[in-house]
Amino acid sequence: MKKTIILMAAFLIAAAGHIQAQKIKGSDTVLPLAQKEAEAFMKKNKGSRITVTGGGSGVGISALIENTTDIAMASRKMKLSEKMKVGESGKTSVETVIAYDALAVIVNPTNAVSQLTREQLEGIFTGKIKNWKEVGGENMPIVVYGRESSSGTYDFFKEHVLNNKNYAPSVMSMPATGAIVQSVSQTKGAIGYVGLAYVEKNVKAIKVSFDKGKKYVAPSVATAKDKSYPIVRPLFFYYVTGSAKMVKPFVDFILSAEGQRIVELEGFITLK
């Protein structure tokens, strides 16, 4: 009995040593894309193992700093403080843009409002505008959904739509993008922001205008690609130079034509 256990343990250790395992962690926005890419990559390169987990951009970068992941996925740029933390441990981080993502503002399908300006969005998310009738809808209170502060989407939306102002304290923070879609679909007065790939039939993506109402643009892959839709962000992979040799094949695979085709299939916007 004991012998078999020892033998099995030895076998497991030997097997683990052979397979090159990569750990990828971070943004929930990038998660479905990275999973599909990893599957395709593993199918092509037998013997490579990639595990992908979510948690939020901040979580991924934190894990990269603490050396518990090989690649950090992020839907925002690394913050200065995080860069300094990487530097403190004597490493340099490498940044690669793997795709773009449009951020859609979604409301309940029964909502009469179908377009908003950036200024109106700022008012709604900072708590200045509290009722839909102030932006041309019916008389009902606005229920605002957002992500947790660990999310890159949270930071990106704050920087680019709220003009760097803080969210109102009454904004409800949801643990996942899927939860925002679910809540918006079942709450009449709801508004929230999600990646374009998450927009489903049971929510309505609204048109936004960043030029004070002159032109409203609906989010789609096409409008994001021709840059007429304003809320588009790059999605990043971060790794440290020390592990470049191990992770480079996978990163290159995503940047290849084959990898970029998966980007398109998953509802994201390709690099070119």
Binding site: G58, K85, V143, S149
Partner: protein, 400 residues
């Protein structure tokens, strides 16, 4: 030979209990050491400074004032005790609004040059406040840095804003989180206790053995369901129900959280309470019945008082589960960090906050320490509950 076994058994028991006690003490020590480090620190991100014109009379700002300034709520220095001059915000990306590409040529490669330009700019603009990295700060005689007031104990416990990642100054006010936790868990226990006790009495005293044998595994099965499943059930079923029932604009409320928590605390309460009720000696029950008491009178005058210490244990364990529960609450209470006035508002609890934010908090940073301080508070609340219940049930035992 027997003696050696005896001795060995004693030693093993002693060693394992010592190890577990020391582990608990070390965890508590660790928790408090990390948590207490928060106080006295400046709530500004590491490696960043605030730069103003030398002629500005303001030297010190609270984090609250800073948040209002950078949210453009305060637009004049008069509001924070300065001269009558409008506030001009500057973040590092704004540099291109003031200098042309040619003037800034080479700043990408030379941070020094960039910071010289920033200092030059702040020296020219009397009302400007710049939020920039400290690393290569170039001070000239026209600018100065502004101090940020450190986090105080009263600001931590009395603060009404929780913005742990806000820049330039984070806000660590736990009042909304603390009140959210108390509202949700207290209501949960108020819902769970009557249901749990009633079920326990029914199962122990009234139900036929065949019914009981079926009911008991079902109840125990409830405690085996992962909390995420409860959370999802709450989000899909209870949240819309609460919303329709009270015709609220939003269903993610403290009440939804309390209901989910109550369901989760039920198996613990039922199992522990039922066991203690069944432990009532047969002689006591029969004595009561022999004196002419009805079955119901026996239950509430003899059995429940006898089992009270077991029932209080059930309550402690139930509250423990309710206060510490994370995932399910995270999904259904809406997590808005506001001070609730009714149970029908979104709330943010302490465990949900720790679970949602600890992953991204850089080790040793302000946010990390603030979350540990929250952990300390959670620990103290549970300790307080345990001591109180212990005290109450102890008093009862003496009376009897």
């Amino acid at each position: 030979m027997k003696k050696i076994y005896e001795k060995a058994a004693h030693a093993v028991l002693f060693a394992s209990s010592t190890v577990s006690i020391i582990t608990v003490l070390l965890i508590i020590l660790f928790l408090f050491r990390e948590g207490l480090g928060l106080f006295g620190q400046k709530p500004i991100e590491d490696g960043q400074v605030l730069l103003v014109n030398k002629s500005n009379p303001v030297n010190k700002l609270t984090s609250d004032e800073l948040k209002n300034i950078f949210d453009q709520e305060y637009t004049n220095w008069k509001t924070v005790g300065g001269s009558n001059d409008s506030i001009l915000l500057f973040r590092i990306d704004d540099i291109f609004n003031y200098y042309t590409e040619e003037e800034l040529a080479g700043v990408d490669t030379n941070m020094q040059l960039l910071n010289e330009k920033v200092s030059e700019l702040v020296g020219k603009q009397t009302g400007m406040v710049a939020f920039i990295p400290e690393k290569q700060l170039v001070l000239n005689d026209k600018v100065k840095t502004i101090e940020v007031e450190p986090v105080t104990v009263s600001g931590f416990f009395g603060g009404e804003l929780w913005f742990p990642t806000s820049q330039p100054a984070a806000q660590f006010g736990i009042l909304p989180l603390l009140s959210g936790t108390l509202w949700v868990s207290l209501l949960a226990i108020f819902i769970a206790l009557p249901f749990g006790l009633a079920t326990a009495v029914y199962m122990a005293e009234i139900a036929r053995p065949s019914v009981r044998n079926m009911l008991k595994p079902v109840v125990e099965l409830l405690s085996g369901i992962p909390s995420v499943v409860y959370g999802f059930f709450g989000l899909i079923v209870i949240v819309p129900l609460v919303q329709q029932l009270f015709s609220l604009p939003v269903g993610e409320t403290g009440l939804a959280g309390s209901i989910v928590l109550a369901i989760m605390a039920l198996p613990t309460i039922i199992t522990v309470a039922e066991d203690s009720i069944r432990n009532t000696p047969r002689s006591m029950k029969e004595a009561s019945l022999a004196l002419g008491a009805t079955h119901w009178q026996t239950i509430y005058r003899v059995i429940i008082p006898y089992a009270s210490s077991g029932i209080t244990a059930a309550v402690i364990l139930g509250i423990g589960r309710a206060i510490g529960e994370t995932m399910a609450v995270l999904m259904v209470t809406g997590n808005a960090a506001i001070i609730p006035h009714t149970i029908l508002q979104p709330m943010r609890t302490i465990p949900a906050t720790i679970a949602a934010e600890l992953g991204e908090a850089a080790k040793g940073g302000m946010h990390y320490k603030a979350l540990f301080a929250l952990g300390c508070i959670l620990f103290l609340i549970t300790l307080l509950v345990n001591i109180t219940v212990e005290f109450i049930s102890g008093g009862k035992r003496i009376k009897r």
